[in-house]
């Protein structure tokens, strides 16, 4: 019962004709790459600019006015209304008229000279992105001004703890790899993995289920075709398409989104290929369970959701409870995201990502093992 290259050739030729004939499929495949890359990277921008801000300036001196101006100049805030006291400011946030309110106490200029100046920033805690951006922006501006900031989040969500009681500690932070905290730098290497995972799992499952749905599988099973030949004939053309999508996303990441690539492209390619193998294997496992293309597609959607939510693509895994973390471990993307960010952003070599690479090797062996056992060359 030996492997035969002629049979593999005949099978692959057939698949290639089918793929090339189906223009819609190719458009969809490449279109999905573009759409995911653009939608995710733009939608994932979590920095919020031009927050509407109420100003309660109880000092009314040149220093307080220049501080307000500095906040506005930072582009993070727009001073949209001027109010008399803190309670009015709170009301304005309650009514969603503003997202932030700046309260400057009396004698501001004098306090600044004595290096003991204080201000209070109220933030709308019901909008977590606004709070986060506003909080860090106000902090940075204040640092330049040499002020001590008190921030308080209004509304009941309490996303941000009240800092009004905290001790005046001078923190100094230096951010590595992405000094401007550009969201795209952080997101693109992850999205490249996400695109690869989505396409590979879904299409691998669909490619095999399709023949079962058409009834052509029964016909092929009654020929001398072997299991490995059949599977490879579908996975090889699909891999080529996936690698094309990979190339497009890396290219766009570097040249369109301007995220500099710091690592070794060659190593990145080989580890992406390994990641691809694990995803295709997973798709195979799904295909052995599904009987219709719809079922295969729906099952692969689960991994897309895992990919979006639990792999650390957008939401940090360190903050997750144990169970969601464990569920996230099922998706191969969890491992590749770390590899991708490591190589792409930090420029690290295999000595830093070998752990995740090893997990992907084991992962691939497991899914291929499972699918070769469950993918029957029989109908029962």
């Amino acid at each position: 019962m030996q492997f035969d290259f002629q049979r593999l050739g005949a099978l692959m030729r057939k698949e290639t004709i089918q793929i090339l004939r189906d223009r819609r499929f190719i458009m969809l495949f490449l279109g999905l790459t573009f759409v995911q890359l653009f939608v995710y990277s733009y939608a994932a921008s979590r920095t919020v600019y031009h927050l509407p801000m109420a100003v309660v300036d109880q000092s009314q001196d040149p220093t307080s006015r220049s501080f307000v101006q500095a906040l506005v100049n930072s582009q993070y805030f727009d001073a949209t209304m001027y109010l008399d006291d803190q309670s009015q400011a709170k009301q304005a946030i309650d009514k969603s008229q503003v997202k932030a309110a700046l309260i400057i106490p009396p004698h501001f200029a004098a306090s600044v000279d004595q290096h003991s100046a204080n201000f209070l920033m109220l933030l709308d805690g019901s909008d977590q992105f606004a709070v986060r951006s506003g909080y860090s922006a106000a902090g940075l501006v204040a640092q330049n001004f040499g002020l001590q900031m008190s921030a308080e989040s209004v509304a009941l969500t309490g996303a941000m703890p009240s800092l009004s009681d905290s001790l005046p500690i001078n923190t100094s932070t230096q951010i590595l790899y992405n000094p401007d905290l550009n969201d795209k730098w952080f997101v693109i290497p992850g999205i490249i993995g996400m695109i690869l995972q989505t396409l590979a799992i879904e299409q691998a499952a669909i490619f095999l289920v399709r023949d079962r749905e058409w009834g052509t599988m029964e016909q092929i099973l009654a020929t001398p075709v072997r299991q490995l030949e059949l599977i490879l004939s579908k996975m090889i053309p699909l891999s080529i398409l996936c690698l094309l999508a990979f190339g497009i996303s890396v290219g766009l990441g570097i040249f369109w989104f301007g995220v500099p690539f710091h690592g070794n492209l060659f190593l990145y390619f080989w580890l992406a290929l390994l990641f691809l193998a694990s995803c295709l294997g997973l798709g195979l496992v799904i295909s052995t369970r599904a009987t219709t293309q719809f079922e295969a597609e729906t099952s692969s959607m689960i991994f897309m959701l895992f990919g979006l939510l639990l792999t650390g693509l957008f939401y940090p895994r360190t903050g997750m409870p144990l169970i969601p973390q464990l569920i996230g471990d099922i998706a191969p993307l969890t491992y590749f995201i770390r590899i991708s960010r490591g190589i792409y952003m930090k420029g690290v070599g295999l000595s830093f990502v070998w752990g995740d690479a090893l997990i992907l090797v084991i992962y691939t062996l497991i899914v291929v093992g499972i699918s070769s056992k469950t993918f029957k060359m029989r109908l029962d």
Binding site: D4, R7, L11, R13, G215, Q219, P224, V225
Partner: protein, 326 residues
């Protein structure tokens, strides 16, 4: 080394089925079926929907495992030497599944390729099969846009691209026009003349009459197995009266009522187009009784005739005999 290898090819029974049984949970799809088919024979494997026809073929092809019993094709055990079986058989599954998004020629080339044909053989077979299927000039037409008869002949061509000695055809003529059906049967006979063994399933009893031997399967059990003429002699309980009346539907209702009340010993009453077939123990004896029964109810009897049973009569009779025996 299995013992089969010492038997020369001509002595091997092309299809050999021994006590073949397949259960799906509590349901027995194929129940203790045994038969064999000789070289060059056209064997009809008949039965109603869900009787186990396709399940039998799938077991012969090793596509599903038997619960017990065994099947041999060209001397190879279907369950354990599956791929050897596949190298030696042609199979046309239900709805003749070709790739609709390949052209006619690409389909032939694909099946030839997976059967390991060399490029020279392939070139020759492509032109032969295109000829056979009547597709000259349509070689590059997408299979999906071919009509039923063409698709069906192309599917047969793809199934026999590697010159198999045994061919399984599962309802090859379902949903195809009568002219295409006739052409298709001519192809089957051509194959049989060349020494190919053909096992074919069908719903059409007129096609079944074309088989040299038939097996009837009903609810998984083999109920009759013989040549068509022998079956008509041996399997038929009673004789068939063909009745032409003015109101066939009403007549059937009357006769069925008479059957229920044992007024006339009717084995079977059924409508065949505009005619009624009534099976009675003795045609001459009950001819008058039936005629009287119908005229009583104001039905004009145009003719009533003792005819030779059709295969369908035989089939229904065999199935009934099996049901009565249980």
């Amino acid at each position: 080394m299995s013992a089969e290898l010492f038997v020369t090819q001509s002595q091997v029974t092309p299809i050999l089925v021994q006590n073949l049984t397949r259960r799906f949970g509590a349901f027995t799809a194929v129940d203790d079926v045994s038969f064999s088919v000789q070289a060059g024979e056209v064997f009809g494997w008949l039965g109603p929907n869900g009787a186990g026809k396709t399940t039998t073929i799938r077991m012969l092809l090793g596509l599903i495992k038997p619960s017990s019993g065994s099947a041999f094709v060209s001397g190879f055990n279907s369950a354990t030497q599956t791929k050897l079986v596949h190298a030696h058989v042609g199979y046309m599954s239900q709805q003749f599944t070709l790739y609709n998004d390949l052209t006619a020629m690409q389909n032939i080339r694909f099946y030839g390729g997976v059967h390991g044909l060399s490029s020279d053989e392939l070139r020759q077979r492509i032109s032969e099969i295109i000829q056979m299927a009547g597709l000259v000039g349509r070689e590059n037409t997408l299979t999906g846009s071919l009509s039923g008869g063409w698709k069906q002949r192309l599917a047969l061509g793809c199934a026999i691209v590697h010159h198999p000695k045994v061919v399984f055809l599962d309802e090859p003529t379902a949903g195809v026009d009568p002219i295409s059906r006739r052409q298709f049967w001519e192809l089957i006979y051509q194959m049989a003349k060349d020494g190919v063994t053909v096992l074919v399933t069908t719903h059409y009893m007129d096609e079944a009459e074309l088989c040299q031997r038939v097996g009837f399967i009903s609810a998984g059990r083999l109920v009759a197995l013989d040549s068509v003429s022998q079956l008509k002699l041996t399997q038929m309980r009673g004789q068939v009266l063909e009745i032409n009346v003015s109101d066939p539907e009403k007549a059937v209702r009357i006769l069925k009522a008479a059957q229920q009340s044992h007024q006339v010993p009717l084995d079977e009453v059924a409508l065949y187009g505009a005619q009624i077939h009534a099976v009675v123990p003795d045609a001459q004896e009950y001819n008058d009784a039936i005629q009287r029964l119908l005229t009583q109810d104001n039905i004009r009897v145009n003719s009533i005739e003792w005819i030779a049973p059709t295969l369908e009569d035989v089939f229904i009779s065999s199935v009934k005999a099996r049901v009565d025996a249980n």
